[in-house]
Symmetry: D3
Subunit: 117 residues, 6 copies
């Protein structure tokens, strides 16, 4: 996988998300709402749940989902060391097949941290 910059990811995602919202299917709309609600504060704080979403995305090996949750993790205040420690759990559980995605995640993470004021 050639690396895609976070900026490019955001632009591509926005176009695709619009196409998805346009699909006008009640089940899809409900799923998207349910998905957003999942990461709000509950018995666990949002900050922890974004880390769970990141690791789930990592072992299922989806770069778009990894980039999305990385952005949320940085926004909610997780440090670089914490995020790497979480991705290390994904590496051990998911195995070396995760390594190309780990490389991608590290490049994305550096970009995201570089954006912070």
């Amino acid at each position: 996988m050639p690396h895609r910059s976070i900026q490019q990811f955001r632009e591509d995602r926005a176009v695709g998300q619009q196409a998805l919202i346009n699909c006008d299917h009640l089940g899809v709309k409900r799923f998207l709402r349910l998905d957003s609600a999942t990461y709000e504060d509950g018995a666990l704080p949002a900050k922890t749940k974004e880390l769970l979403g990141l690791v789930a995305s990592a072992v299922l090996r989806c770069n778009d989902c990894i980039d999305y949750h990385l952005e949320q993790c940085v926004k909610l205040g997780h440090t670089k060391a914490e995020i790497i420690d979480a991705l290390n759990v994904a590496l051990v559980v998911g195995g070396s097949i995760f390594i190309p995605h780990f490389r991608h995640a590290m490049l994305s993470l550096d970009e995201l941290l570089g954006e912070k004021p």
Copy 2:
């Protein structure tokens, strides 16, 4: 995943398919024939089986396979609403990890429907 247009998919697929056919392995050749035969009319009509191939490709999250079956589904007369209803099954069974592929599928589907005379 940056979106790839259907036209680009067809060109890339043609090059790769030629390389695969050139591999000159009896087992591979038989598998390719078996694969084609799978979607012909049988106890179930081809039109239904292309929908099954689409949903199987969707939950296994392969954009090339999704694009291929989308093209067949449109060719065999499935409406946009039917295809979205099928992809919604994939979304619920396969979870939010399918969302980036769902976005891709919607962009591909719009292209495919735009090609129809």
Copy 3:
């Protein structure tokens, strides 16, 4: 996997389903409602969508999900030949790793068809 009879599946599922409903989490409750709604008549008829659910469960290799959708497919009037034709799509897309689940599905299907009046 030792085969489990449909009757045993129903009993085990009922116990587990009660434990799941007891978990009292709004997100989980919403997901379960969304899941049920997915297979109701829409742009595609319920009968087709149960077949899609079956093939999705088959390529993701979950025997409980296979048994559940087999039961619905039989209830909605799919013939044995139609169900096998659908599972053959799962076999080709998902590969020989699906064979043990295909064996399980055939034993379940025979039980389900034997129950019909």
Copy 4:
């Protein structure tokens, strides 16, 4: 999957673990040590990492791994509500194919909480 009690899981796991340790392969031994070290306090506390291990096991759909991490989560003081909130992330990311494993996890969790003094 018929539910297996936590007590039975522990006994089966002990027998298998002994067979694995007996295999006398340097790479395997190193992997097992690396695996244990993964969940020790680091940039993230052990308590959070066990939750990450649970969600990773959940979306990859391995009941043995789910039971193992559930036991650790309970031991490290996570409440029932927190564990369910974590499993709900797995449900949304991983989809309805996770439901049979969620049922299993709820039965295991009730057993584990019932053991607490």
Copy 5:
């Protein structure tokens, strides 16, 4: 997963295989023949291809398929050390989620080696 003995696996498999053969679907029959032919001597010897089948089954985490290929590997003369070295590749590529299946494989392997005259 409670361990199932090789003898029990063979009996369960025979019953399921008969049900599969009875399904009387041309595509399924062809797939089963193609599957058998895959492991015959070709550019690579059968002995190597059974090891490939074992590792593929291992990372896809199917105990029935693991047991089947273990039996073939032992029959074709692979030593215990060679089989463990192959499974170690699966462990590193596939991650700790493979560990419960590795335990199962070691118990099966001991049974299979104990059967040898």
Copy 6:
């Protein structure tokens, strides 16, 4: 997936690998060392284990991993026919969902063989 040339793969991989090494996490470093050691001569020769790594990567459908192991297989002297025979095992075990990756692998393999002196 648009095909990426082996040369481009090497450049992208080098950048990502550096970012991964920079992450400065003891668990990650240990995993990377363990990963390299896995493919060294042991009970099985390195040449066989690279083939196992290739098939594992193939059924888990990771193009970067496929390219990496293809390069090693060619370097260690496997012929084109042997590599295709190994990938055919992946095709049968993993199913038609592997076909787009098989196409990619054939293009990569032709490039790699073309580089040989």
